[in-house]
Symmetry: C2
Subunit: 367 residues, 2 copies
């Protein structure tokens, strides 16, 4: 059995300790005579697993009591639809801060379903290499909420602030954030948000599962007609079990939360480790004329680090040799090319050390 270093942007690396535990429990969960994936979601054994996962998540992120935690399906993409369905029932318009490809997809879905969407600020004019400032954000007078993507997984652009989300009339609207690629990478002040959602396949668990954290008072803003499974209120009232949830993925998420709590020591420790990892990689890029990262320094992502070679003709060789050295999935997103190293929680510091050493060696040989 070999475990390579996996820099995939998602589905991403999972902690080896989590996979080992899942492996041990695969055929017989704690002497119950069956796998977790064979358990009724209504059984006391499974409900205990699900509730422990939620409790651990709440503890890790210090989620306030007036927020509901939902475990649902369909990826962040499904939330691009679920958010406007759940928040536009009292009228008004979805507003967006656009800083990359994922935010653009969220805008497109709101436009598709509701006929319009207001882009309150965008970094499109600079190719999404530097984010607008808070003062650049101009909400529409009828803004019902402001949607942000604090970390753009493809572009590698991260916001260095949280928008104030205030309309011209002084009303502060709920802030909605797609935290797919940063959730649990460090501490989070949940109380600043109205809705947080995150696809699981980066820092939480396997693809398919989506986490939603929603403030209680927003549960009554839904439009009348939407697929029942999209309703935050219905999900909250059913404990995310309107129908059979993705039980095994939820269990694996629980194992990841447990690992983060007990093995790592929580999100503060994780944040230090993540800062060190990203710091080492950016330092290596900055110290060289051979590698470069296009993002303004204040907006550099700690989770997704895109970079290119001065000589793009060498990229194919770089990727092939990296893979041969056990450094997997460094190819940039098909829409942008180049390279990208995703440094999620489960990517160990040793992986970054190995990558930096490989980059240095490659430059020496080929630069």
């Amino acid at each position: 059995m070999t475990r390579h270093y996996n820099f995939c942007a998602g589905p991403a690396a999972l902690p080896t300790a989590v996979l080992e535990r899942a492996q041990r429990e695969m055929l017989d969960y704690q002497g119950r005579g069956l796998s977790v994936m064979e358990m009724s979601h209504r059984s006391s054994e499974y409900v205990a697993i699900a509730e422990q996962a939620e409790a651990d998540l709440r503890e890790l992120l210090a989620v306030p009591d007036n927020y509901r935690v939902l475990f649902t399906q369909g990826g962040a993409t499904q939330q691009f639809a679920a958010v406007p369905y759940n928040l536009l029932g009292h009228g008004g318009q979805a507003n967006f801060l656009e800083t990359g490809i994922w935010g653009k997809k969220a805008i497109k879905e709101a436009q598709h379903l509701f006929g319009r969407a207001h882009i309150a600020a965008s970094s499109a004019s600079n190719g999404h290499v530097e984010a607008p400032r808070d003062s650049d954000i101009a909400l529409s007078d009828d803004a019902a909420y402001l949607h942000v993507t604090p970390n753009e997984t493809i572009g590698g652009l991260a916001l260095d602030y949280l928008p104030s989300a205030r309309r011209a009339d002084g009303v502060e609207v709920p802030l909605v954030a797609d935290l797919s690629s940063t959730i649990l990478s460090g501490p989070l002040d949940v109380s600043r948000y109205g809705v947080i959602y995150a696809g699981a396949q980066k820092n939480i668990g396997p693809a398919g599962l989506v986490l939603v954290i929603v403030r209680d008072d927003l549960l009554d803003r839904a439009v009348d007609s939407m697929p029942s499974l999209f309703s935050y209120r219905a999900l909250a009232e059913a404990g995310s079990m309107i129908n059979t949830p993705a039980t095994y993925s939820w269990y694996l998420a629980g194992l990841v939360f447990d690992w983060l709590k007990r093995d790592i020591g929580g999100v503060d420790v994780m944040a230090e480790i993540n800062a060190r990892k990203a710091g080492k990689l950016y330092a290596a890029i900055d110290a060289s004329d051979f590698y470069s990262n296009p993002i303004a320094k204040r907006n550099r992502s700690q989770m997704n680090v895109p970079f290119v070679l001065a000589d793009s003709a060498l990229e194919g060789d770089f990727l092939r040799e990296a893979e041969a050295a056990g450094l997997l999935n460094l190819k940039g997103h098909r829409s942008v090319g180049g390279m990208r190293a995703s440094l999620y929680n489960a990517v160990p510091e040793a992986a970054v050390d190995a990558l930096v050493a490989f980059m240095s060696d490659f430059e020496t040989r080929r630069g």
Copy 2:
């Protein structure tokens, strides 16, 4: 490690051989140095896994070339919404054959989203113990399709025919079937259907994944506005990868298809085994005044066998003693009570033998 006999209605038992293989491959898939759940869904390794799963399913069910196979999310419940969104774009009304709780839920969702739904026939008047005949089905003049639930998982009622789905004007409308609890339990004439869908957590794999098989010519009947992920056309064009699919569940489904093909020998052999299993249990029930099944004999389900004791006060003891004997999850659905044994593909014949022996012993001691 102990494996008990698991009669859960869903999430249900999986083949031990499948879980063993998943266990072996958990940390390192075939020497690639990572788990399947850590693979990019766009990687050649993962695409090969996904394509093989589809190819095996197509072979198992002899799916004609003019049908598309989709791997999506949200359970059958999400399809209760997706079907009318995808089939009512040319106008007309959803029609339903109602034979139990799941069909009723599908009706409710279509009514919720489209304001109306026509119940073409129902067994509600007899408490869903005997299905309407084909000649009882009266489609509305504007019927766009007929939705059926050929096997009602909770009630244990199975249709003994496939409706002709012909309107008074002679037009045959597409037949849409929720096959969650029977798919792959035996051969299927896919060409009789317009759309087939099935939640995975009974005969396919882990909860969360949903399989949709849709006839090509129905891909142009969608309404204009629905969540992008619900579009059969978009899913078909993207190879079910509009966004990151539930990659690990899809892989596990592939392992189940492989098991069914190679270990069992296909759906014809599976059908014989399933007929024997159900036959033994119904024979035990019928041979006794102590146990009874409420369903008309022509409508008895081979997958879900509900039964009650003549003295309902003994049910608690029955369930406790069964569990102690390693016979798990025999409790009936919370909405109907009593007992239910689900005899899906992964429940071995030995499990039914053990259940029948336990029932006989319990009756001798307590009857």
